[in-house]
């Protein structure tokens, strides 16, 4: 029998799901912007490094990265002894590659004319990026970032395999304890939607609102 107590117990997985998702998003953001800029400018020929990073992250299942970190590399890199951190870093690294693509597209959408106007004022490339291109690109990127957060929230469920006590793991525990096969996963599914929908939807709408306000395309 699946009871209300089971439901409350299951809820205890939510904080870890949120923590993995948002920490990996932050890590991805911190990696994504520099990667986008490196791809754009290719300083010291580093553009290829950015390309390689993106291709590698696009080509490996995130679960495999997690397993590789936690079981394969914990001996070399002590933080990977923690299942939680292995999952977070794996998702964050992949997210950095994805977010760099989102930012690249957004930066290109801002257009040459804005760069030219900034240059005509005497700004160097970095100043132009910092004050003119990136703020606009960020607004254009909002819907894409919303989808990326939703993806991270969902894919944080892979951490279950490493034994992290997040939402999917809790629903599995409840399934085993209650022998109820439907409800634990169904409730988990509903909880995932309840988390992803508002976040993604909010960023979508914020993006559209700001785009209209600033006349961005």
């Amino acid at each position: 029998m699946f009871t209300f107590e089971n439901f409350l117990f299951l809820l205890q997985g939510v904080p870890n799901t949120l923590a993995i998702s948002f920490l990996s998003f932050a890590l991805g953001f911190a990696l994504g912007i520099p990667t986008a800029l490196v791809k754009q400018f290719s300083p010291f020929g580093l553009g290829h490094v950015a390309d390689a990073y993106i291709s590698v992250m696009r080509g490996i299942p995130v679960l495999v990265i997690m397993l590789l970190f936690h079981f394969g590399m914990a001996g070399i890199i002590p933080v990977f002894k923690s299942a939680f951190l292995s999952a977070t870093f794996a998702l964050g690294l992949r997210s950095g590659a994805f977010q760099s693509q989102i930012f690249r597209g957004a930066i290109n959408s801002v257009g040459r004319q804005q760069m030219m106007a900034a240059t005509s004022l005497g700004m160097n490339r970095w100043q132009a990026f910092r004050h003119v291109i990136l703020p606009q690109a960020f607004i254009v990127a909002l819907p894409g970032l919303g989808s990326e957060i939703a993806l991270l929230i969902k894919d944080s469920s892979y951490a279950f395999v490493l034994g992290v006590l997040e939402l999917t793991k809790y629903s599995d525990i409840v399934r085993k304890a209650t022998r109820s096969f439907l409800y634990p996963y169904l409730i988990a599914a509903i909880l995932y939607i309840m988390i992803t929908f508002p976040v993604a939807n909010y960023l979508d709408r914020l993006g559209s609102r700001l785009k209209t306000k600033y006349g961005l395309r």
């Binding site: 004022l121 005497g122 606009q136 961005l216």
Partner: protein
């Protein structure tokens, strides 16, 4: 004679196989207003972008206040800060208000303190009669207002010269006037201006010289009364006949 601010010698520009500028000699002195006219595709915008140091020439030299711009290791950004540019295309920073647009250059490039940059920007907005619109975003302004903010943005840098590339080409007639009025006002105040425009009224009233550009060359130049009334080259005569006749 006044001090020559901006000049070029044997200026050429090639895009791929296409020579867009085929050898231009030009100079403009402090306080002068010069107007460039010429058919579409003749290279006017390209010439202006080169003189604004937004693109390097393929051949030839550009001089700013007598110094060879690309030949003597000068800091291009420092020179660009002294050359204002008003574009034909909408070029305001869309995420900033009119005031934000105008004060960004003084803050970021001239390193002014916020209050100082703001004062400077408000002065420039007053010059283009837009102080009441300071807190509006570009998307909330008319095309003519946007172009005036663009002019204010250039002015706030205290440039030695401002280049205008058909600033009214994409505007309705009424909006054109408000922009042209501001530009006439600047010319009379002694701002040095190089203007691509087909507003001949503006040229007649304030230009010291009109340059007629065709196929990558300046093929004729002279004071407005002369060039507009008695163009010497058949190309200029034909072009003006069509322009005035509206054909």
């Amino acid at each position: 004679m006044g001090e020559v601010i901006l000049a070029c010698e044997g200026l050429k520009k090639r895009y791929g196989d296409l020579w867009v500028l085929k050898g231009i000699d030009f100079e403009i002195e402090r306080g002068q207003t010069k107007v460039i006219i010429g058919p579409s595709g003749s290279g006017k915008s390209t010439f202006l972008r080169l003189m604004g140091l937004l693109e390097p020439p393929t051949e030839g030299k550009i001089y700013f206040e007598g110094k060879d711009v690309y030949g003597s290791g000068l800091d291009l950004n420092m020179l660009r800060a002294k050359i204002g540019f008003v574009f034909q295309e909408p070029s305001l920073f869309r995420h900033l208000t009119a005031l934000g647009n105008v004060k960004l250059g003084p803050k970021v490039v001239l390193k002014m303190k916020d209050e100082e940059a703001e004062r400077k920007a408000m002065d420039a907005l007053k010059t283009v009669k837009l102080e009441e619109w300071a807190h509006h975003y570009p998307a909330q302004l008319s095309g003519g207002q946007q172009q005036r903010v663009g002019i204010a943005r250039a002015l706030a840098m205290d440039p030695d010269i401002i280049l205008f590339d058909e600033p009214t080409a994409s505007l309705d007639i009424e909006l054109t006037w408000e922009v042209i009025d501001v530009m006439k006002d600047l010319a009379r105040r002694g701002v040095t201006m190089l203007v691509v425009t087909h507003e001949l009224g503006f040229a007649k009233e304030v230009a010291d010289e009109i340059l007629f550009m065709d196929d990558g060359r300046i093929i004729e130049s002279g004071p407005p009364e002369e060039l507009l009334k008695n163009p010497k080259t058949p190309r200029a005569r034909e072009f003006l006949r069509r322009l005035i006749g509206g054909v």
